[in-house]
């Protein structure tokens, strides 16, 4: 029972991190990253091979640094970030939205194909397994205790990540990202280097993807291509859209509803005899349907992005009277908001 609950807790926090990463890319900056799961995979693999010893019987992989946690995790995050720089250099130039989406989907398919076939990279289709569990030996944790410990550790990591993301989103940088999303031409005319801004969003988001992936492999001790089929990206999109694009709290709510309740809770149901995997298949169909229903009826999500009000800038709003006077001049000129006109 403890094992079940803390597995759910782990996935809640991990997908909270993953969703925040996609949120800065898609929800805030408007980059439709359909290859997101590829960055998660890079983070997972690199975290794994960074922690594993130079040689393991029966497995082939690069690096094998034997790094302790959290250094291997950070390496995983930076590896995902490095990949995103390469990909952004190819894709962010002059590509319209659907071209970008095509290229990113293709990239994740090819990268998938490559990891599957090129055994000496990350042990091919078998993937990595027996990845050392962080602190398990030093703290003398059994496998059940490790689950509890690591779920809590992931909670701490997600809090740190949330803090970082809140700083970014609240800073002018976050506003500039949103400006680029709303209209890149205008943002450029106002002096914003839109390419570099999108690159930054890609890098920050991919770092989050890499950390989320690294935690995945550390939690389960293994990672192979079946864990990151390109369609998995869609699950993160579902978390984002159900929760509410643009809002970090929404990412947590989305992770809770979609990842924890919709995807992982049914995984504990017993298999239907004679139909291996049927529950999982039906479950995935339900996730897809939920997302579409959500997009249609409540595209802003359960926790919509909030507007940043003047008061939050710490300014004195005593201009009110003076401004009221001036506003009347324009009122004379017959300008009113659309809402006022229709009233």
């Amino acid at each position: 029972m403890t094992y079940y609950i803390f597995t759910l807790v782990f996935f809640l926090f991990d997908y909270f991190i993953l969703a925040m990463g996609l949120n800065i890319q898609y929800g805030i900056t408007g980059i439709l990253n359909f290859a997101y799961i590829g960055f998660v995979a890079v983070g997972a693999y690199v975290t794994g091979v960074a922690a594993m010893p130079a040689n393991t019987v029966g497995q082939h992989y690069i690096l094998g640094l034997g790094l302790p946690f959290p250094f291997n995790l950070l390496l995983g995050g930076f590896a995902a970030m490095g990949l995103s720089v390469l990909i952004a250099l190819i894709t962010l130039r002059r590509l319209r939205t659907d071209y970008l989406a095509i290229v990113l989907v293709s990239l994740s398919l090819v990268f998938y194909d490559f990891c599957n076939n090129y055994v000496s990279l990350f042990n091919g289709a078998d993937g990595l397994y027996n990845v050392p569990e962080p602190f398990a030996k030093t703290l003398g944790l059994g496998s059940n205790n490790f689950i509890v410990f690591f779920a809590c550790l992931t909670g701490v990591v997600s809090l740190i990540m949330w803090f970082v993301m809140s700083r970014v989103m609240r800073a002018p940088l976050g506003r500039t990202f949103r400006a680029v999303r709303d209209d890149a031409v205008t943002a450029a005319a106002l002096g914003k280097n839109t390419f570099w801004m999108q690159m930054k969003a890609m890098m920050i988001g991919s770092f989050f993807a890499g950390i989320g992936g690294g935690l995945l492999i550390q939690f389960g001790g293994s990672f192979n291509p079946t864990a990151w089929l390109p369609a998995e990206t869609f699950v993160v999109f579902a978390v984002l859209i159900v929760g509410g694009a643009g809002n970090n709290i929404g990412m947590f709510v989305g992770a809770l509803l979609v990842e924890t309740l919709l995807i992982h809770l049914p995984a504990f149901l017993p298999e239907i005899p004679g139909h291996p995997g049927l529950i999982e298949y039906i479950d995935t169909v339900i996730v897809g349907v939920v997302l579409m229903v959500m997009l249609w009826f409540r595209p802003q999500g359960i926790v919509p992005a909030r507007l940043r009000k003047t008061a939050s800038f710490g300014v004195d709003e005593r201009l009110d009277e003076e401004a009221g006077e001036l506003d009347r001049t324009t009122a004379l000129a017959g300008v009113g908001t659309r809402a006022e006109a229709t009233r």
Binding site: I90, A231, Y281
Partner: protein, 292 residues
């Protein structure tokens, strides 16, 4: 040398499959102006419906099963547009939403196929045929029929586009949707017919992919999708004839390269072509947008 000719034969078959698939994707893109990321799963569904008729329900001949599945997938395409994609595309100005919906549709369709048919590899029952020598090429009867299907269907679409009123309307809409609407073209009708053609072509492409690969898996369509993307982008997205040319280039080069490099990486050839095209001329190497 024999190996080379053998791979040319494979190349022709792959080109045929790819041409059918790329044609369907391009037609639909030209009219609706967004990419259908579930297209690979349309193919898979076509392939499995063919399998259903061929091996499970009526034990029909493979080619007859394929014909029925093709028509059924045509109606499926119309249905999906009417009930799902069309409403989303009309409601939201940003194309993000409909792209995410097609991505989700892809996941739903894939898992529906898994739920019904499971993850096992399936095989069609093909009528026994012999390998034929045609010039230096060595092809089976089924492979020849696949090529024949591609030639006939591509020819039919070409004839429709070039000679019929409907085809002219389709080309006009693809060039400029708004203008077409104001000039009295029944855009709703054209859209419906296009979705029918696109769905049918996906269905037949999925089935012939199963024939040419020798087996059938639910994820095969999805993995094939980016080879289609490579062909379509190489040819210039939305351009029918560009897509066909792209299909020839990608189909031949992936198969012929497999004679020289590890065949496991033949897909990466398509990918390199895709990336190079995007870097050099993102609007396509072969043709300009529009169905001309």
């Amino acid at each position: 040398m024999t190996l080379l000719w053998l791979s040319v034969g494979f190349g022709l078959v792959t080109t045929s499959v790819l041409a059918l698939a790329a044609l369907g994707l391009s037609l639909q893109f030209g009219i609706t102006n967004y990419i259908n990321f579930a297209y690979g799963d349309f193919m898979a569904l076509g392939g499995f419906f063919t399998y259903f008729l061929n091996n499970e329900a009526l034990h029909l001949n493979i080619w007859l099963s394929m014909a029925i599945a093709t028509v059924a997938m045509g109606f499926f395409g119309v249905l999906i547009n009417r009930l799902l994609l069309g409403p989303f595309a009309r409601r939201f100005t940003s194309s993000h939403y409909v792209l995410i919906v097609t991505f989700g549709l892809s996941l739903i369709m894939l898992n529906v196929i898994y739920s019904i048919w499971g993850a096992d590899v399936r095989f069609y029952s093909l009528p026994p045929g012999s390998a034929l020598h045609i010039g230096p090429l060595l092809l089976t009867t089924s492979q020849l029929i696949v090529m024949g299907i591609a030639v006939v269907l591509v020819g039919a679409v070409h004839t429709i586009l070039q000679t019929t009123r409907l085809g002219k309307s389709m080309r006009a809409m693809s060039d400029n949707g708004t203008l077409a609407m104001t000039s009295g073209i029944d855009t709703r009708m054209v859209t419906t017919v296009t979705w029918f053609m696109s769905g049918a072509l996906a269905g037949v492409a999925g089935a012939v992919l199963g024939v040419s690969e020798g087996n059938l898996t639910p994820a095969a369509g999805e993995l094939f999708l980016f080879v289609i993307f490579a062909a379509v982008i190489l040819g210039g997205i939305g351009s029918i004839y560009g897509a066909l040319a792209g299909a020839v280039v990608i189909g031949m080069s992936t198969e012929i390269s497999a004679a020289f490099i590890n065949p496991a990486y033949k897909l990466d050839i398509a990918f390199v072509a895709l990336i190079l095209t995007l870097l050099i001329r993102p609007n396509g190497l072969i043709a300009r947008p529009g169905m001309t």
